[in-house]
Amino acid sequence: MSADPSDDFELAPCGLLSTRPDGLILRVNQTLSSWLGTPREALLERKRFEDFLSLPGRLFHGTHFAPLLQLQGFVEEIALEMRRHDGSGLQVLVSATLAKDEAGQPLGMRIAVFRASERRRYEEEILRSKYAQAEQLAAIVRSSRDAIISISSLGVIQTWNEAAVRLYGYSTDQAVSSPFSILAPDNQAVEDQAFLARLLGGESLLFETQRRRLDGQLVPVAISAAPVRGTDGRVVGAATVHRDMTAWRQAEERRLLMLRELTHRTKNLLAIVQAVERQSAATTTSKEEFHERLSGRLRAIAASHDMLLACDWRGVAVAEVLRSQLAPFSEINRLRIHSEGPALQLNADASHNLALAIHELATNAVKYGALSGVTGEVFISWGLVDGSAGPPIFELRWSERGGPPVAPSSRRGFGRVVLERIVPSALDGSATLSLEPAGALWTLRIPARLLEPLPASPDARTMAG
């Protein structure tokens, strides 16, 4: 070390300067004057510290540095940029103290300047990547289809994204700074308190609940919530993601409904199969005949099922019921089967039963009736008729002409049971089968409420076949 103690000031590894009360430089060390590239004589009593700051630095100095120094007597570690004589910049950290005399009058300032180029570059890099990350996160939150809501450790809403506006109806301005409990239905205040306490106690939670929208409506949501921790590990708030479960709930309800319906239908179907099997056995004389009649009827049931499946178990057009059941017969008899009626749809039950009846009628027609010879024809017509003093009636007529003369004894057995009893009683209606010599005539009358949807106008007629 040199013997001269003033060297400790002059050659200190940081810039040092002191000023008069008006800010003019009183002393400056050699280190700073050489950093600035300005001889000491040009500084003393002529320049102030802030004269060597960049313009942004002067703005910061005037608005923060100087007032803080005046108000609290010191500033520490303020990052600024100084301008050297050659115009180049010098990144620095500055600390300063205000010196006062015994009466409290300012004597001037003492300022220490440290070079900080490396540190500033490093900090800027961190800041840049912080902003990039924040921007990335912000983009995710902005574009999320789920509501993302963050809350403070006091349970106050701090951020509220677009999806939250859509889900709950509150604008961002309305929601931010409001308590999280604005979303709690009246009867859930206690549960909500418990939820917040667990969340802010550090627990991550995933649960389904109901929340109240701005318009008072309740909306089913799935909430996934996680505590947000500060750098010291303490919970400083929480991030919550809210998914609207309305559509999912509806799908789930529909699925359960369909499952119940399916069970019901399967049972019905097995009962029908059982009855068909029993009756077929009782009305046939040979194993071959039994086999033929049974498989024909099972095919009819299967075709009717395909049809219902194709339309999702909703209504089926009458014409479609006919088409599905007559398809195997109409291949050769297309020009001999005529059907006509308005575009009406039957519900699943009615179309299933009608399909069974049509199968019996067609089978018999081919075996013994109008389609058994080369000349006969079948006429099918349907429509709505006024029920006498009652609700409207759906009527379907099957009439055969030009076939061989009908022998009354030829229509016995299960087919007749299906046509006269099973189908009409299943559909809460009535049916008549008359076996006149000119040909068979079957008339089915069932309540129009089995149509789906209920027809607006019974005049809407269309050709079908």
Binding site: G62, P67, L71
Partner: protein, 262 residues
């Protein structure tokens, strides 16, 4: 939370007329502590922090509202109405010199006199107007705000914001006078330095005093003269001082200039 709590309003002094002191960009109402007490004998002295500054309620900060000086003028109006101020004297430092006239436009009975300390209606050099800065300098200031959070940090924020009933927690921390949420500081800086208020000056009809420091880099004397010329019938007082805050660096001269005007 009431308006008075929201803006941390402090009322002191006695007198029929009120003086409302509005701080500028950067710090809070503590800036007035060497000047305001001098008027407590004759006036009702009103001090406050804009929302976002000092001990105001930060949760009341709305980026949309405070995205223009009009939002800050609303703070002034709401405080004025809450306290029932009429014919008051408005003392505004720096950007507040431009906020006061906006509040007065909305309620012409609110103030009957205005004092502007270090006013600048537009900071940017443009054609024959010398505001003193370029747009790049304002960007540079924003970068410096990022580099100087003045004791604000993510871990500090809950301590400062989460304990309104224990102000001493915030008090103990250094730089509390100028500490702001960095996001708010950035937005206020943009609003302060990138709002062109030149057009509103000629509309000012109340007696106005411009206080100009002889050496102010932020609001140079040429800008003070410009403001003085644009406001018909205004007075200008020059204070021999360096810097942008004569109410801190030259309080006695500042008090004398205001007294002379009143």
């Amino acid at each position: 939370m009431s308006i008075l709590e929201r803006n941390h309003v402090n009322v002191s002094g006695q007198g029929a007329r009120a003086m409302i002191f509005a701080h500028g960009y950067g710090c809070d109402q503590n800036m007035w502590r060497l000047v305001a007490p001098a008027f407590e004998r004759d006036y009702r002295v009103v001090l406050f922090d804009y929302v976002g500054a000092g001990k105001s309620d930060l949760s009341a900060y709305r980026p949309a509202r405070y995205g223009s000086l009009a939002g800050y003028a609303e703070d002034v109006l709401e405080i004025g109405h809450e306290l029932g101020l009429t014919d008051a004297i408005f003392v505004g430092h720096s950007v507040s010199s431009m906020i006061g006239p906006l509040a007065l436009q909305r309620d012409p009975g609110l103030f009957s006199r205005m004092v502007m300390i270090g006013p600048s209606p537009w900071y940017i050099n443009e054609d024959d107007y010398q505001g003193g800065f370029g747009r790049a300098d304002i960007d540079g200031l924003l970068a410096l705000l990022d580099a100087n959070h003045l004791g604000w940090s993510a871990t500090m924020a809950p301590v400062i914001m989460g304990n309104p009933d224990r102000p001493e927690l915030a008090e103990e921390l250094a730089n509390s006078f100028c500490r702001t949420d960095p996001e708010i500081a950035r937005q206020f800086a943009r609003v302060t330095f990138l709002s062109d208020c030149r057009a509103q000056l000629p509309a000012i009809r109340v007696p106005t005093l411009v206080i100009q420091c002889t050496e102010d880099v932020i609001a140079p004397p040429v800008v003070g003269e410009y403001v003085h010329r644009q406001i018909a019938g205004s007075t200008i007082a020059h204070i021999q001082s360096n810097g942008h805050c004569p109410h801190l660096s030259a309080p006695a001269e500042t008090i004398a200039a205001i007294r002379a005007f009143l």
